[in-house]
Symmetry: C2
Amino acid sequence: MQVELITIGDELLLGFTIDTNAAHISRTLAGAGVEIVRRTTVGDEPGKIASAVREALDRTGAVITTGGLGPTSDDLTKPAIAKIFGRRMKLDEGIASALEQRWRSRFPNSNYPATNRTQAEIPEGARILTNRHGTAPGIWLEDEKGRWVAMIPGVPREMRGMLAEEVLPAIKSRSEGTESVVLSGTLRTTGIAESAIAELLGPNFLGEPGTELGSLPLAFLPGVAGVDLRVTAKGLPRAQAEKLIKKAILKLRSRVSAYAYGEDDADLAAVVLEKLRSLGLKLAVAESCTGGMLGERITSVPGSSDVFLGGIIAYHNDVKVKALGVRAEDIERYGAVSEQVALQMASGVRERMAADVGVSVTGIAGPGGGTPDKPVGLVWISVHGSDAKARRFQVGGDRAEIRQRAAQAALEMVRRALSNG
Amino acid sequence: MQVELITIGDELLLGFTIDTNAAHISRTLAGAGVEIVRRTTVGDEPGKIASAVREALDRTGAVITTGGLGPTSDDLTKPAIAKIFGRRMKLDEGIASALEQRWRSRFPNSNYPATNRTQAEIPEGARILTNRHGTAPGIWLEDEKGRWVAMIPGVPREMRGMLAEEVLPAIKSRSEGTESVVLSGTLRTTGIAESAIAELLGPNFLGEPGTELGSLPLAFLPGVAGVDLRVTAKGLPRAQAEKLIKKAILKLRSRVSAYAYGEDDADLAAVVLEKLRSLGLKLAVAESCTGGMLGERITSVPGSSDVFLGGIIAYHNDVKVKALGVRAEDIERYGAVSEQVALQMASGVRERMAADVGVSVTGIAGPGGGTPDKPVGLVWISVHGSDAKARRFQVGGDRAEIRQRAAQAALEMVRRALSNG
């Protein structure tokens, strides 16, 4: 089934809000075999909303809109779309009293403006989509030919709830019998550049064009976490798509196994924690240039507390000396960003926190502080577990990217240390 | 001047990539008085790309496309759009040799496929937009009526560079004489709920509808950092728009000054660091539930090292006792998430790192670990500077949001402590 998505809002068009809703809706629907074939964003103007919806209906007959429903947005979406369907607006008493209640709780000392009641009007013959996470209800409008528009709120939490609870079941019930799906599989790698992976795989790695596997598009997706390899199957029955994707991921994994840490949404921090847990080991971190980011990544995983003890953010050199036991003369001699200091930071935090594994990061995140000898992006990472290792990295990007890549590289060094021994 | 934006890519439509490019382009162009009036996203299919571009040209005569230009994307965009303009594709020798060079460096042992040369074809009469940050060049195509399409890459760094260096100057040169701009101003607040701000301001705070200030739309934008108040002026000459926005922000500030920490892109961590710097004070952090996020926020600001010493991530209670000197019996008696423990964490890190100001966070981030007495979202924060304070917060959201709100609340407590004394 093909659907078009229309996201409504001046904030989106002006670029103040990044359209994360759109990605969420696409992924959720793809999982149910529904393909978003076009996405349109328009501002809060009834004429523009109406023409975008009319065009989309002409192309696919199935449209989801987000935004423009709430009490502060002048409620532009509903009347604009009702007009396309030739429906009049009529007052819904239930919605009206909910809106009035909300107003009175916000402005207890003001008179309720009668004009507000127009916000409680819905198109004749529309089905109300319940909003369990906010006040503005959604609307499902459909004509006699089966062409439909689902209007849902733009507030992410309300949108997600209504999509799952109201829209998805409605779409599923009408797409029964439709068999083809859009399915993707991702192999996540880190510690290897996109060009190096491309060379490792060579051209047409999955198969010659025209063959079953070879016709699946393979995307290289480089990011701060590493390079994701994504294979997508389109327009196939679900069972066949699943089989093909699985086969392709297996084939990719066989070639890049040293760098692959997981599939789909896998988070390297969660992978490392799981490994530590299975080995009964406790972890502590010592961070300089990442300033807490490594700890933050680890503790973003629910349940990390049974494996992760804590850490030292040793941003100033005095803290490296006093809180981690790094020798001041080594900082003086080799610099704070050096193998020696990284090693002492890792062993220091391991010892002082009575951890089994200590990991440290020290580097130059920039934009200032680089020298020809030690340029911005230079990072030393050390892992002290059953033995102590240190490795030098030169990573690219701006300050934020350098720190993210450093944190990811530190997690990867822990993963490999645990895999090897 | 009105422009439409078309972002191209299966990854975007499938929801695997969030369209951050679109927001960047909108904001960059708005600053130059150019308004994006519609945004369309289509997949990597020549037919769909062509119809989206044709429709956009019919509406505005001015279109920017991103994506579908690189060597791995089958180069679909250029021929599809050339066809609309009735132009043939022809080989550009300069681009051809650059592409061949790139291939040979990636696959030194493979034969260069002749079909690759088609990627070096550009539409007749097109202007090449130089790509200083990657290999795929951009294209500016224009017809005799002055209708134009600028095709730029989808890779964010390449897109940003080409937009600033090539596209913006071209647009500016043709919009000279056009006077009206789209301009926004934002007042950032924290520590107050959206409904409380709405009540504080009351209806029509900026002025009755129809008056100069009252006709500026005022948006309430709640997020984990707090509630942003954004005022937008559209279709006015730049000087007048600037004056109105300034007036509106001043008026808003006068009413919500206690909660306002900055304007536009202001980051609370940077505001706090600046305040510490001007007072000659050094900061240290002690984090439990935020696990390093507070340190990460602070060190994300370049130059933070002259004010920020470091911190202790005291995730496990043993670390709270050993590394911060929290009394074990107080943890036992009051719990790790308590006023007593927060106070001891802040004074402990202040003393041990020889800082002037210590700030601590301890809370229940969930999803597990809540009790009726101490529910998920309960956070105690303490600031120890010239004196010691602690405050209890109950914040909402999922694990990530609770942690982000806790880090922001901690920074705000430091800001207020510094403002008052």
